[in-house]
Amino acid sequence: MRSPRASLRIARTLLSTQYAYMLEYRAEIALWALSGVLPLIMLGVWQNSGAASQAGWSPAQLRHYFVAAFIVRQFSVVWLIHVFEEDVVSGKLSPFLLQPLQPLWRYFAAHLAEQATRIPFVALMLLALSAVDPGLLWRPSLQKLLLGLMALWGAFVLRFLLQTLSSMLCFWSERAAALDRLLVIPYLFLSGLVAPLDTFPPAVQRFALATPFPAMVDFPARLLSGLPVDLGGGYLSLLIWCLILSPLCYWGWQRGLRRYGAMGA
């Protein structure tokens, strides 16, 4: 067992090296940030449909919700499987395994560093949005902001765990990324990214809420945009799903590593 001080030092080193690495690819990250405009496009369609006002949403609430969903999406993007797949297939994972550190932490730190690199680009995009229509932005209360950021980070961890689980399939199959693409479909349509959950028919809404997906977008976006939200239920759902997924990931890692047969293993 490592002392807390040593862990802190490792975390700091990992984060700072990954941040430096990500800064080198800032142009690429700016493009990735641009590719997250889907919620804003959907806002355009929803504004011209009366369906949201039927669900009791005011035009301002609708705008804020989708802008919040855009922010949530920006900071909960997970691309672990694409990197991990290549590292497994090409054997780059082997040297990481020699180090006295669980390799997944390295990927986790890379994601955090990428988020930090994204901040200025997202801020610029928000600035551009406010230039188009100042009504798109709002000022959340400090309490809502903190709670929302916490939920956003929880959503990221949940997404990371879910993708860790599908990444473990890389040890068995070369098509793991294709399988993960299938998981994106329920995420897209059930999380509230393209349509607010309030507009769903009750049965579909109940079904969606039983999956982990609404906790990934709907819950943090509602908190940030100041819409009425079930605070306890949202955090509980995040916690429960994380608790379900973590042991599964651990188990997958243990089993997968035994299968791992790339160069040097």
Partner: protein
């Protein structure tokens, strides 16, 4: 003589890529699941947008189905031809294998754009056609012809945009993402352009011409096409094809190859 040679070569290319792709049969299942999952989700969202009203931006449910169908069709076209070919340009530049392509006695743009053919876009093509047929109230040969022509123009615009973006990799090697951005923003074509606020409509006509890819051909299929939109679409397609050609020649002049 020359033309038939090119055609024979293309057929040979596609036969060989079909053979190599047929090794991955699991892909067909995954691709079908992906297309139908996405389609079910899109239909669900469309039904939400229509709840409590009979039109969306002046389009009825059936008419909106045609737009969605054409989007699915173009998405299938993307998976069949654009994605497998154009996403490799970046690799060619990065690894220096573009030199080999340039040395071949074939037009380099033709080779880079049509070398591979992936059968995995077929479910999308099929599903798109089914949606269009479901949405059409009556099939008139005249509007079918015009719609087909405008869809082809839309596909040409899509190709030119994608190819030009991929050609940027001559200068910026890590440009693969730019095509991903394109793919994500083209999602806007799932809905008729008039469903968007006026400012976005202008963007979708002039900056990112999704209007010409799905909305304009749909109107033509419905027999509501107007000649100036049709003319605009064909002109835009011709213009963007020529522009992509010129841009590629310009890019090649800046290509310094791997060994020099």
């Amino acid at each position: 003589m020359r033309r038939s040679k090119t055609l024979a070569m293309l057929l040979q290319f596609w036969r060989s890529s079909l053979e190599s792709e047929s090794e991955y049969q699991l892909n067909l299942v995954l691709e079908c699941l992906s297309v139908f999952g996405n389609l079910a989700g899109s239909l669900f969202v469309l039904s939400l947008l229509f709840s409590g009203q009979s039109t969306l931006g002046g389009w009825t449910w059936n008419e909106a189905l045609i737009v969605l169908g054409l989007y699915t069709l173009l998405d299938g076209f993307t998976s069949c031809l654009l994605q497998p070919n154009l996403s490799k340009i970046v690799n060619h530049v990065q690894q220096g294998t573009l030199d080999f392509v340039l040395l071949k006695p074939v037009d380099s743009q033709l080779w880079l754009s049509l070398r591979c053919f992936s059968p995995w876009g077929a479910p999308g093509l099929l599903a798109g056609c089914v949606l269009v047929v479901l949405g059409l109230p009556e099939i008139r040969p005249q509007s079918l012809l015009l719609g087909g022509l405008l869809l082809a123009s839309g596909a040409a615009i899509l190709y030119s945009l994608w190819f030009s973006l991929a050609a940027l990799s001559i200068w910026f090697v890590k440009v693969w993402n730019a095509t991903e951005v394109l793919r994500y923003t083209l999602v806007a074509g799932r809905y008729p352009v008039s469903a968007y606020p006026p400012a976005l409509r202008l963007v979708f006509v002039f900056v990112l011409p999704v209007a010409f890819m799905t909305t304009v051909p749909s109107q033509a299929l419905l027999g509501q096409g107007s000649w100036h939109w049709a003319l605009g679409s064909v002109l835009m397609a011709a213009g963007s094809l020529i522009a992509s050609r010129l841009f590629w020649q310009f890019a090649l002049r800046h290509y310094t190859s791997a060994s020099s």
